[in-house]
């Protein structure tokens, strides 16, 4: 094929592609460094927040109320439902293979180690992750963030740290609450379908429970809380000027939070089974 002066030479075209790829890689790397710096500043400001008497304490209380307390009912319903389903399936299938006692091990593994932290995180992403990202994004657009800076309030200290602490603390306790309802609350549902003495059920659970299960679940809930809050606040602050950027920030916060917690879940699960 003859190359005409009006067309882009194939070598130049591939050079452009490589250049674009290079620029994109550099941008992504810079963004990652910036995000790490943001996380580092959040941690530093968290220490200072705890030490100083902060005006942001009320924001922290409100965040715990919104993320933790107001999510209690949906968590309870979800936990009891999931727990009951695992109970019913386990009690129906496992005795057929002579492995009825395994039901408790499976229940603990699924609720305490996996579904408890994961579903709690999902609830928090759906409710608080989106709310935080869009609220902060809206505040950027309406210049409220600049207004905070103008009166000497560090937005990171006043807006991010209370949300970071509030979401992390709420995620931790909501996970414990989820476990309680998933393991014990579901017994009430189970009884309607299959009569089982509570003492037998409870002893079965306690017998199957071990320290690693508990620790893995609690560590996951803490890590998930950190990831959701940092991603949501970071995305909220990524909004520049237009209101159309606000829902986009919400969508990115949800997507990135899901990805981050699934990766973290896999890593923590792998480590906990290796220990």
């Amino acid at each position: 094929m003859r190359w005409t002066s009006g067309a882009v030479h194939p070598i130049l075209s591939s050079m452009n592609f490589v250049t674009a790829l290079g620029h994109r890689t550099i941008d992504r790397f810079r963004e990652a460094v910036y995000a790490l710096g943001f996380f580092g500043r959040v941690l530093t400001e968290t220490v200072l927040f705890v030490r100083r008497k902060q005006v942001g304490f009320k924001v922290l209380v409100m965040q715990i109320l919104f993320t933790g307390v107001e999510a209690l009912s949906i968590s309870a319903i979800l936990a009891m439902g999931i727990g009951a389903v695992i109970n019913i399936v386990g009690l129906s299938l496992l005795p057929q293979f002579g492995q009825g006692r395994l039901m408790y091990v499976i229940l603990i593994a699924i609720i305490t180690r996996e579904l408890g932290p994961l579903l709690t995180a999902f609830i928090i992403i759906a409710r608080s992750g989106t709310a935080i990202a869009t609220e902060l994004g809206g505040m950027v657009v309406s210049h409220e963030i600049e207004a905070y800076i103008s009166v000497g309030v560090d937005p990171l200290s006043y807006l991010v740290v209370p949300r970071f602490l509030g979401v992390t603390v709420s995620c931790f306790f909501l996970n414990i609450y989820f476990n309680f309802f998933g393991l014990l609350g579901s017994y009430g549902v189970l009884r309607i379908i299959k009569p089982l003495p509570f003492a037998e059920y409870f002893q079965g659970l306690v017998g199957a429970l071990n320290g690693i299960d508990l620790a893995a679940g609690l560590v996951k809930s803490l890590v998930f809380g950190v990831l959701i809050s940092v991603v949501a606040t970071y995305q909220g602050f990524s909004v520049m000027r237009a209101t159309t950027e606000v829902p986009q920030a919400g969508i990115r916060a949800v997507g990135q939070s899901f990805t981050a917690i699934i990766i973290a879940d896999a890593v923590i699960t792998a480590v906990s089974y290796l220990v």
């Binding site: 005006v55 409220e144 800076i149 103008s150 009166v151 000497g152 520049m240």
Partner: protein, 262 residues
């Protein structure tokens, strides 16, 4: 030439790859009213925000009392924030807080030990000055844009700062409110405060300005005393400035005549 309150040295501000302010150098005189004028989109507001430390320049320095805003320690920065305030074009009140909290937060940050009774008295005083008579318990969304602007103005006055930045202070205000703002700014001027304003309003410029900066396409075109810049620009601004001078001269003459007869 009087001492400068804020000095911008070779300041360049970028939004992405777009240069909003280019290599601008200007000194805003202490205790005077400076006006930044220019066409819409010329970079006036960004220049004002750079001077107030709300936008970090890509290049150059913003100096307050000789200290670079970008290199200030936490204590120095807090002192600067206490001594300065900013009135935003679109009010920028905190939507999720009551009017009372909007006015109280600067006090809570800079004067944490202030008794509630004194804080309440300060808040009552500033809302009286701006002519706000509604409840303090309501949220900004329940107010008209003009009322929000006046509350934003009150928030800027609550700490009695020595340096006030105003971005289009007369935007979204009716005639009566503009008069009130003008009166308050004149009081602030008499009190020796440094005021830096972005405005298109020739009347505001003629009535208040001691110093004018002209910005075009992100560049500082010229700056200097009001008379000099008005002569240079001519037109409506020059007429207004002359009218204000004639009126002030007439008032002075009347005062002199009155005191002579007493």
């Amino acid at each position: 030439m009087s001492e400068s309150a804020i000095r911008l040295e070779d300041v360049t501000v970028l939004f992405g790859d777009y240069e909003v302010v280019s290599n601008s150098t200007v000194s805003f005189p202490q205790g005077q009213v400076s006006l930044i004028i220019g066409k819409a989109g010329s970079g006036k507001s960004t220049l004002l925000k750079a001077a107030a430390g709300l936008v970090v320049p890509e290049q150059g320095h913003v100096l307050f009392a000789g200290n670079d805003l970008a290199r200030m320690s936490h204590t120095e920065n807090m002192a600067f924030r206490k001594a300065s305030s900013f009135v935003f074009q679109d009010s920028a009140l905190w939507a999720n807080q009551s009017i009372y909290n909007n006015l109280n937060l600067p006090l809570a940050v800079h004067e944490p030990g202030l008794p509630k009774s004194q804080a309440d008295a300060r808040i009552r005083e500033v809302v009286r000055r701006v002519g706000y008579n509604e409840s303090l318990a309501i949220r900004p969304a329940e107010l008209s844009s003009g009322e929000q602007k006046m509350i934003s103005f009150a928030r800027a006055l609550v700490l009695d700062p020595s340096l006030i930045f105003l971005d289009e202070p007369d935007a979204s205000l009716d005639e009566e409110a503009v008069e009130r703002v003008l009166e308050i700014l004149k009081e602030c001027k008499r009190a020796g405060k440094t005021i830096i304003i972005v405005s298109h309003n020739t009347r505001l410029i003629a009535e208040l300005a001691d110093f004018i900066c002209v910005v075009a396409d992100g560049k500082m075109v010229s700056s200097g005393p009001t008379d000099q810049i008005a002569q240079m620009l001519g037109g409506e601004l020059l007429k207004r400035v002359r009218a204000v001078h004639e009126r002030d001269a007439a008032i002075d003459a009347a005062i002199d005549a009155g005191s002579g007869g007493a």
